[in-house]
């Protein structure tokens, strides 16, 4: 019995080695990247890429984000907007006989963003006139907390320059659900466009990444 187990182990281990030698691999298992289009929304996103194993075409992408905006954006005039976000994606490279992060890939994942917004804007306030309660729209400083969560599915293409630097383009679809601390249900105030901070619904997503492996 022991002999059989030993033979099976040797054969399995050996075949793994042969399999590994047949595939082109990348020595690095970590990468760090930058996603420039987040600057349009007043944000910065960094991507931390980590391969699932030493020899794998599958990577985990963790993308922390920070946002800071003052002034006009998407039809709003912010006194101050600050935000934090996190995307987590599972990325699978599709190139046959390769374990390098290169060529076409598919990825899917989840995202969460939290925004704290101070804006001089209109809001609803109650008042009494002859003992009767009315609601009127007034202008003033409103502090709003926004929570946005959702998911994405992307198809993309990644180039490698000298096994270290990568350029990555992707497009796909996503869904977002946003809640605003000032109103019940889904946010409607910061939902002017599909790129707005409080957007809810489906969207076409696309982007460009640049980074390096180490």
């Amino acid at each position: 019995m022991k002999k059989i187990l030993l033979i099976v182990s040797i054969v399995t281990f050996g075949s793994c080695l042969v399999f590994a030698q047949e595939k082109e691999i990348l020595g690095s298992r970590m990468g760090i990247g930058f996603v420039p289009q987040y600057a349009i929304s007043g944000g910065m996103r960094f991507d931390i890429d980590r391969s699932i194993s030493k020899i794998s075409n599958q990577w985990l992408i963790i993308s922390p984000q920070v946002f800071m905006v003052t002034g006009g954006r998407y039809g709003h005039e912010f006194e101050e907007l600050t935000g934090l976000g996190l995307d987590i994606k599972h990325k699978i490279y599709l190139k046959p006989n390769s374990m390098k992060p290169i060529g076409f890939y598919a990825q899917y994942g989840i995202m969460f963003q939290h925004f704290s917004i101070i804006e001089n804007r209109q809001y609803t306030e109650s008042y009494f006139e002859n003992g009767i309660e009315y609601y009127e729209v007034v202008e003033g400083e409103v502090n709003t907390k926004l929570n946005k969560y959702g998911g994405n599915f992307h198809l993309g293409y990644q180039w490698l320059v000298g096994d270290k630097v990568y350029f990555d383009i992707y497009t796909g679809a996503g869904i977002r659900i946003s809640h605003n601390s000032q109103i019940e249900g889904l946010d409607t105030w910061y939902n002017n466009y599909w790129v707005d901070y409080g957007y809810s619904g489906t969207l076409l997503d696309a982007g460009f990444r640049v980074g390096f492996y180490f």
């Binding site: 289009q37 349009i40 929304s41 006009g72 954006r73 998407y74 039809g75 709003h76 005039e77 076409f104 209109q122 809001y123 609803t124 109650s126 002859n130 009767i132 309660e133 009315y134 609601y135 009127e136 729209v137 007034v138 198809l155 993309g156 293409y157 383009i169 992707y170 497009t171 019940e184 409607t188 105030w189 002017n192 466009y193 599909w194 790129v195 707005d196 076409l204 997503d205 696309a206 982007g207 460009f208």
Partner: protein, 170 residues
Amino acid sequence: MKKPIRALLFTIACVATGMLLSSSEPVYYGQYTPVFMARTVMENAIKIEAAQPLRATGKIYIYGQYILVNEKYKGIHVIDNSDPATPENMAFLHIDGCIDMAMKNNVLYADNAIDLIALKTTDNFSSVQVTERIKNIFPETESPDRYWSSYYVNQFRPKGAILVAWKKKS
């Protein structure tokens, strides 16, 4: 191989253009702001009050010796015109969201924002009683300068509230 990459680049260019175009100017809401009321409060607020000065008046209706003058979105002034040389502003009928009225056989028909109501009145308008209410028969009024779409109105509407007036910004 190049065709899919070109398609990918084209899609990204379209999405990026959309992102840049949507960074537009802030929305301008015009000179008026909406006023809302909870339905129960609106229905229970109908009453005869002491005479009030005429401010933002609307339609006029003659009924016997009385002249009824609409105070836009607020109600109806009741003016006793039995002596045309000295008409007397005798009472104010508070009806939120009212912009029109008619009267027959001591029954006053008026709009109470989006509802049509019938009020039985005494001969001298000393008391009124709502005898009939047909709910949600009228559309909500538009802002006088038409800057507010129903989408933006709803952004400010408290849950279940009814738009009863437009107030000019001070």
